[in-house]
Amino acid sequence: MKKIEAIIKPFKLDEIKEALQGLDIKGMTITEVKGFGRQKGHTEIYRGAEYIIDFIPKVKLELILDDSQVPQVLKTIQETARTGKIGDGKIFVLPVGEVIRIRTGETGSSAI
């Protein structure tokens, strides 16, 4: 099993969720995060004082998948999340040792 973490632009979330549902992905978890990278932030001005804000709102998607699902999901996320402009984000794949479904106690693939 693998864990996929994708950092995406927030407004792409709905589209990606729908694309993944199309792949029969049953679950995912998302977090509001802030990203720092090549994409430059913005300036805020309060009573004449300027502040440069480097951290940009992003959404982190976390999915646990069977190894078999990984390539397809990676492709789908990459294609759907892409706008072609700087700041589109990253996808990381991490190894997972075990999965448990709390409700049933099932483990492994059947718990995903």
Partner: protein, 409 residues
């Protein structure tokens, strides 16, 4: 006699303060309904109008709206810069309070009317263009219409149209201008598939409460003195607001299964809008009926936009346009000389003609305001551009137009 009455003056000054307070109230009412990235931009629309329209009104607005009549159509510029508008009462408008008190009370109406419109183009208008639009609209739409209905010599006033506190001048006028604006500016990006949830409903409800509170000044103050008529208008205002709060919530409860707080706030405003033209002409039970009807009617009126496919972001058309139109016509039904000798009877009190006169005033305002607003906006769209860039809309007006962020909690 020219004596200033302290009770009347106290009342009109406090009423003016209350009506002034409505504009920031409206800012909250609207501000809570947009997405969090547009909260400041939305609030700013109302707030900057306080600055802009005050200056406009002092310089030429009051003179155009209430100054010496030119052919029934507009006031002259004789009172430019408030010249000649002093402390002595101007009897033709209000005999017991200083002329400046009448002027400042009316100013607050001139301020809130364009602020009402801003709900329709929320979340996507360019700030610079908005500033220019506001000044043009006040000059070309608000001032003439105010003159027709309320100015000495205004042609709708002479026709006998009844508008106690601004059903036509304020609500129909802003409501139909909002329709024009929604049509010209187009839908918000993502409208119809992305969710557009209100970001802060307690703020919206607080705004509605301030509007309700301030509306006592708006309607009762329109009696221009602390007299029986003011009391009557105060009572009808409150009853209609309450009745529409109840009926809107009850309607959606039946129709959609849930009574919502946004519905309660919206209903309150709908009731206040509908009673505005009628406030000083009808009795308490008529107010109850007007309020109950307004809540139901405006609830369904906001579905129009889904049907007809325009994006009136915060339902200015549904609430102010439809509610104001209903109120103006209802005045032609429920008005009674028993309540206000200086008014007239409506259809239900034996005078069907009044309904016709009301319909004319409504129709004229609808057409004039719609057409002129459309022209102003089209011209601005070609010249300055009405709408922010695609990416600026996505980033939100707060960042793109003002370089600020609403919350850092």
């Amino acid at each position: 006699m020219n004596a200033i009455n302290t009770g009347d003056t106290a009342f009109i000054l406090i009423a003016s303060a209350l009506v002034m307070f409505m504009t920031p109230g409206l800012a909250l009412f609207y501000g809570g309904m947009v997405r969090s990235k547009n909260v400041l931009g939305t609030i700013m629309h109302s707030f900057i109008i306080l600055g802009l329209v005050t200056i406009e009104w002092v310089l030429w607005g009051y003179s155009n709206a209430f100054g010496p009549d030119l052919g029934g159509v507009i006031g002259s510029l004789d009172w430019f810069g408030l010249s000649g508008v002093g402390i002595a009462p101007f009897k033709d408008y209000a005999g017991t309070i200083p002329h400046q008190a009448f002027m400042i009370f009316q100013m607050m109406f001139a301020i809130i009317t364009p602020a009402l419109i801003t709900g329709t183009f929320a979340e996507r208008i360019k700030f610079s263009t908005f500033v220019v639009f506001t000044l043009l609209w006040c000059t070309l739409v608000y001032n003439p219409v105010a003159h027709w209905v309320w100015g000495i010599g205004g042609w709708l006033r002479d026709l006998g149209a009844l508008d106690f506190a601004g059903g036509t001048v304020v609500h129909i006028n802003s409501g139909i201008a909002a329709l024009a604006a929604a049509l010209v500016i187009g839908k918000r990006k993502g409208y119809g598939h992305e969710p557009f949830h209100p970001h802060n409903l307690p703020m919206t409800i607080m705004g509605a409460a301030i509007l309700w509170f301030g509306w006592f000044g708006f309607n009762a103050g329109s009696a221009l003195g602390a007299n029986g008529l003011a009391v009557s208008a105060f009572v009808t205002t409150h009853i209609a607001a309450a009745a529409a709060t109840f009926s809107w919530v009850f309607t959606e409860w039946m129709y959609r299964g849930k009574p919502t707080t946004l519905g309660a706030a919206s209903g309150a405003v709908a009731g206040l809008v509908a009673i505005t033209p009628a406030a000083g002409f009808v009795g308490p039970l008529s107010a109850l009926m007007i309020g109950l009807a307004a809540g139901v009617l405006c609830y369904f009126a906001i579905f129009l936009k889904h049907k007809l496919g325009y994006d009136d972001a915060l339902d200015v058309v549904g609430v102010h346009g439809v509610g104001g139109t209903f109120g103006a016509l209802a005045t032609g039904l429920f008005a009674s000389k028993l309540i206000n000798e200086a008014g007239n009877n409506g259809l239900f009190f034996g005078n069907p003609v009044q309904l016709g006169i009301q319909a004319i005033a409504v129709g004229v305002t609808l057409v004039y305001s719609f057409v002129v607003t459309l022209i102003i906006l089209k011209v601005l769209d070609w010249t300055m551009g009405l709408r922010v860039e695609h990416e600026d809309e996505q980033a939100g007006l707060d960042l793109s137009q003002h370089s600020e962020v609403g919350y850092n909690l």
